[in-house]
Amino acid sequence: MVARTRSLAALGCVVLVLIASIPASAQIEDAISAYTGANAEGYLEPLAQAIGANLNSALFHSAHVPEGGLHVSLELGLMAVLFSDDDETFMATTEMGFSPETTVEAPTVVGPGGAIIVPGDGGTAFPFPGGFNLASLALAAPQLRIGSFKGTEALIRYMAFDTGDVEIGDVDLQGYGLRHSISQYLPGLPVDIAAGIMYQRFKLGDDLIDATAFSFGAQASMKLPLVFATIEPYAGLSMDTFQMDVAYDDEDNDPVSVEFDSRSTAHLTLGLHAQVTVVSLYGEYNIAEQSGFAFGMGFGF
């Protein structure tokens, strides 16, 4: 009974990660409604980096792509980044005709919760809102891997739900990718090698966040059969591109649109995959502009 309760608690925790992986969109919107332009971009920058890093993680856990036959695997990946001290603040500049114009260190969306108040001329003051005091940001996504045709497999990530009154905001994640076995052309190699591409689009709330991620790269892995399990260290090197738009209403209910510059980053993945019959588990560390870790599990044949 205790074990069952723990299992249910663990399952509940995973479901919570799925539906509440980032702060409620309404709450973010409330926090940034005081901001426009460059300040809004600076405030949300760590969130953009973290979403981009998470989307481009847990895309693979092996470089082995069978040459043929039906192979299906249903997987759940949990990707997370840990924020550093540098992510907690940005240089913010006073707005709205405040005098004198002043630039100070203010909390980002992941920074400390306290507001920063800047004194001005004649007894006036300017406030910068606090952050959500986040140490990490996680994103969970189910994905389906289907192969193989001439050493090629497809990966589909999909998640869409209306959270109704939960105030998290509607979530929509779609991702499509292809991987092709390179090692099939290089017989005798001790490791498997594959190359792949992945496109993803993530939306949160009513256009609050609209992000697209693209990744292409190569992976290598080596299967080590060990008694009841197969252990497979894997590594990957990719080039990731991420772009994010944020739209919200300011305090006067005027629409504000913040377009983050498209950014590209090299991305190194180091991970370990274990497979026992139809169950696979994997954990990985991702080194990129925003480093993070991911783990996941899958059921497949």
Binding site: I22, M96, G130, A135, A229
Partner: protein, 210 residues
């Protein structure tokens, strides 16, 4: 270490990672200072035949706009929760000038009254109406004693009162001098921007939060 032991350790590492995450405390209580900004707006009509005039006072209910902003939050914020409220800036905008080709250079001030106390809050000197027309909002130079009165009203608002402020314009000089045959006629809008800070407590998902 034999292969079997290596395999078991590797699997335990992967399983441990999974168990560690799923067994973690996911939701953490966070306190976030939310900033709400609002402004009090007043329209003035100036129709004068002389340089030194006193305009009709405009009445501003400070509580009105802020209460609306607090109520618009979900869940609504309470006045008692506000930790700070201050005047942020002020601006004025000339919206109509009877003869846009006829420039006037005016000096004077906007006065504020709260309770029995009154003070000048905005000084304007040698302001060309020709230049101001169509220039949008012009940042106003604020006077400390007037700002103190405004901030005192905001403090009283936080205490639960419904402060009412009076604003009026007093002209000091005008070039050329207005006369009954060539009177000064223009409309303008004044805005006083203020803010309130209120902490809210949220349950936020944070895998490694405290």
């Amino acid at each position: 270490m034999n292969n079997k032991m290596r395999g078991i350790i590797a699997l335990l590492i992967v399983l441990g990672l999974a168990a560690g995450i799923t067994g973690c405390k996911l939701l953490h209580e966070k306190v976030v200072d939310i900033v709400l900004r609002n402004y009090a707006e007043m329209d003035f009509e100036t129709r004068e035949d002389s340089a030194d005039y006193v305009g009709t006072p405009q009445i501003v209910d400070v509580a009105d706009g802020i209460d609306e902003a607090l109520a618009g939050f979900d869940p609504p914020l309470e006045r008692s929760a506000i930790t700070d409220a201050r005047l942020l800036s002020a601006s004025y905008e000339v919206t109509w000038l009877e003869d846009p080709e006829h420039d006037w250079e005016i000096s004077g001030g906007v006065w504020i009254q709260y309770g029995l106390a009154e003070s000048i809050i905005i000084d304007y000197s040698e302001q060309s109406l020709y230049d101001a027309l169509g220039a949008g909002e012009i940042s106003a130079e604020l006077n400390q004693s007037g700002v103190n009165l405004f901030n005192a009203a905001l403090d009283d608002f936080r205490s639960g009162l419904d402060p009412v402020l009076f604003f009026w314009v007093e002209g000091d000089s005008c070039a050329p001098l207005p006369t009954p045959a060539d009177s000064l006629k223009f409309d303008w809008t004044g805005r006083f921007y203020m803010y309130v800070v209120s902490p809210i407590t949220l349950e936020v998902p944070d895998l490694y939060g405290e």
